[in-house]
């Protein structure tokens, strides 16, 4: 992967949460390129190379998506659904990062195939620790899915 590749897509609408998250990520120096999407639509546009991201190379997907749930326009679970429904993007690790620990969000998230679910603690240090752990795990410890994991195209095209 080239240096310009997005390693983390951070989907967060709240500016404060966003700043805190970015701070935490940068502090740990886990990623060089973090892309930010401020709502669900932007996130999907980015992943599926639409709208203002039409120029993007589809095959260069982020290694981790940190997804908040309460998003304007398209909400987090819908974004998750679309990512996990499409075989070309299904393999991208998605970690839900949200203040909600409502049972129904957990249930729906996991049913849609989320890779991990983190509740944002109020305590900042704990939050930082969580981010560090998550980043470390998914970007360093975890084996990234190889290109073929994103291959599965519609049946018309030969695999």
């Amino acid at each position: 992967m080239s240096q310009n590749d997005v390693e983390i897509l951070l989907v967060e609408d709240n500016p404060d949460d966003l700043e805190l998250a970015l701070h935490a990520l940068r502090r740990e120096k886990l990623a060089n390129h973090i892309e930010v999407a401020r709502d669900g639509e932007e996130a999907l546009d980015f992943i599926f190379c639409r709208g203002k991201y039409a120029h993007r190379n589809f095959s260069h997907q982020p290694r981790l998506i940190l997804l908040d749930l309460k998003l304007p326009k398209v909400d987090g679970l819908q974004v998750l659904r679309e990512i996990k429904d499409d075989p070309r993007t299904k393999a991208i690790p998605v970690v839900i990062l949200t203040s909600s620990r409502e049972e129904k969000d957990l249930v729906e998230g996991y049913r849609l195939g989320v890779n991990s679910y983190i509740q944002k603690p109020v305590d900042f240090e704990q939050f930082r620790d969580s981010i560090k752990t998550v980043g470390l795990y998914w970007l360093v410890v975890n084996q990234a899915p190889p290109e073929e994991a994103f291959a599965a195209a519609p049946p018309v095209r030969a695999a």
Partner: protein
């Protein structure tokens, strides 16, 4: 009735048949006898006629002789009258006899002989007559004296005698036949009559018995009929009663229908209210969701930026500034805790108990593990007694123990030797669980404030806490149909007691309903321990 022979149809038919048969036989026999009799009679008469004829013939011949003799003697023609008459008569008589004996060969044979003899006799007579006429008396008398004529007459008499004998024999035979036939006829008739009468009599008796039996049966039937009539009368009376009863029933049914309608109205009302309640519940859930998400976010920000401030500009900040920032962070932390506790408490209200038979001891062990891990430095004397297996919601009960035990830990912190006891006692058939500590205790004066929400009996700087822990414990215990209370003495320690209903149910809580539902089809699953621990307080 088996004592008399009753005439069954078969018997009677048989008897009559037999009688008929016998009569028929008698009839046939009589008929035949009578025919026989008649034949015999005819035959006898026939024979008599033969006798008569032969006698007549003889007499006629004798007349002829007489005439001849008279003429012979007198020579006077008038004396020939009998002879002349006899000539003709004999012819007729012979004809008669011939007719009569036509069918009897022996008689016919004799007759033939008689015929020729008769002819010979007349020839002889005529001869003599002629002779007298012509030759006179002397000539005729000479011929007579030859006895030729007498001879012929004797022969004739012999033949006739033979014929008569035969006829008489025949008569006798017929007589015998007739007598025999008559006798037998009478015998048969008598016998048959007797037998028939006997049969008739027996039939009569059979019938009479039958009739007796039947009349007796009839009597019985009449009695039964009377009984039936009575029964029918009673039935009618019952029917009337039933009719009245029916009317009452109908009235009651109408009443019930009204009640039903009323109930349906109530039900509709209930449904409406349930809908409203469900609506409220949904609103509450949405509210809780919002609170969870929206209240926490700003707290996070405050905390985050404070921290960042402290870290990044620590050089620029005074110690005082840093202290303030810490207080800010503490404030947010506390509020976060409050939010979580409140949410938990609120959720408890809506939550349904998921009952399982749970070993309370294992719950306590679990909680202790966490507490020990969080307080590694403390030396605590744990006195954990065996606890019973009860039907409860394990997750919630864990919260109860967690809250009570962390309280115990918290309020024994000032003590050098901490001792905490968990055990059970029995009172009035109830099992009571207790958690006892030798901590700072409290004054029973404020005991009723103990379980109030946000109520605290200690200062925040002495003992941290949100004042929700015991309220949560009370709510959970109450949900199980039990009660919780405490006893304490300032500076001596406190004991918290609780029960879990123990099968006694309170209609105003969920446990009764759930126990009922469970009884109708529950299943046993492994008790699951849930929850994490934050800041020594239970967070569900």
């Amino acid at each position: 009735m088996k004592m008399k022979w009753v005439g069954s149809r078969k018997a009677i038919s048989g008897a009559f048949g037999l009688a008929m048969g016998i009569l028929a036989l008698i009839f046939v026999y009589s008929y035949r006898s009578t025919v026989l009799l008649i034949h015999a009679g005819d035959s006898r008469q026939h024979s008599h006629r033969v006798l008569e004829s032969t006698q007549r013939l003889l007499s006629e011949l004798q007349d002829a002789e007489t005439g001849q003799r008279g003429y012979l003697i007198t020579g006077a023609e008038p004396y020939l009258e009998p002879y002349n008459a006899a000539v003709g008569q004999v012819v007729n008589t012979m004809k008669d006899i011939r007719n009569l004996v036509r069918q009897d060969d022996d008689q016919a044979r004799d007759l033939a002989t008689l015929d020729s003899l008769t002819t010979a006799k007349f020839a002889e007579l005529q001869q003599t007559i002629e002779l007298r006429r012509k030759a006179g008396f002397e000539a005729a008398s000479q011929v007579v004296q030859t006895s030729a004529g007498k001879q012929i007459m004797d022969d004739i008499r012999k033949i006739i005698g033979g014929m008569n004998d035969r006829a008489e024999k025949s008569i006798n035979r017929d007589q015998q036949i007739m007598e025999a036939a008559s006798r037998r006829s009478i015998q048969v008739v008598l016998l048959g009559g007797v037998v028939a009468m006997a049969l008739l009599l027996s039939t009569f008796f059979l019938l009479r018995n039958e009739i007796e039996v039947r009349s007796r049966a009839e009597v019985k039937i009449n009695v039964l009929n009377e009984g039936l009539k009575l029964g029918a009368a009673e039935l009618e009376a019952s029917n009337k009663e039933l009719g009245a009863f029916n009317k009452r029933l109908e009235a009651e049914i109408a009443g019930r229908k009204l009640a039903e309608a009323g109930i349906q109205l109530l039900n509709k009302d209930l449904e409406r209210r349930t809908e409203e309640l469900e609506g409220s519940n949904k609103e509450l859930e949405a509210f809780t969701y919002s609170v969870a998400h929206d209240l926490r976010a700003p707290l996070r920000h405050i905390d985050g930026f404070s921290k960042m401030l402290m870290e990044e500009d620590s050089a620029a900040l005074s110690d005082e500034a840093k202290r303030y920032l810490n207080r800010i962070r503490q404030g947010t932390s506390h509020m976060g805790q409050l939010v979580d506790d409140l949410l938990n408490l609120a959720r408890l209200g809506r939550q349904e108990l998921s009952l399982q038979v749970t070993g309370l001891s294992s719950l306590v062990e679990d909680v202790l593990k966490d507490l020990k891990a969080e307080n590694p430095d403390r030396e605590i004397h744990w006195n954990i007694q065996p606890l019973p297996f009860v039907e409860c919601d394990p997750g919630l009960m864990r919260q109860v123990f967690s809250n009570l035990l962390s309280n115990a830990l918290k309020y024994t912190r000032p003590r050098k030797n901490t001792s905490i006891e968990v055990s059970q006692i029995s009172e009035n058939g109830e099992i009571i669980i207790l958690v006892r500590d030798n901590g700072v205790g409290f004054s029973m004066k404020y005991a009723d404030k103990l379980f109030g929400v946000f109520q605290r009996l200690h200062r925040q700087e002495d003992f941290e806490g949100t004042g929700v822990g015991l309220a949560t414990v009370q709510r959970i215990v109450r949900k199980h149909g039990g009660r919780v209370w405490a006893e304490a003495e300032l500076d001596k320690g406190a004991t918290f007691y609780f029960t879990l209903g123990n099968g006694k149910t309170d209609s105003s809580n969920d446990l009764g309903e759930i126990r009922k539902q469970k009884a109708e089809g529950g299943k046993e699953t492994e008790p699951v321990s849930v929850g994490t621990v934050e800041n020594g307080q239970k967070v569900a």
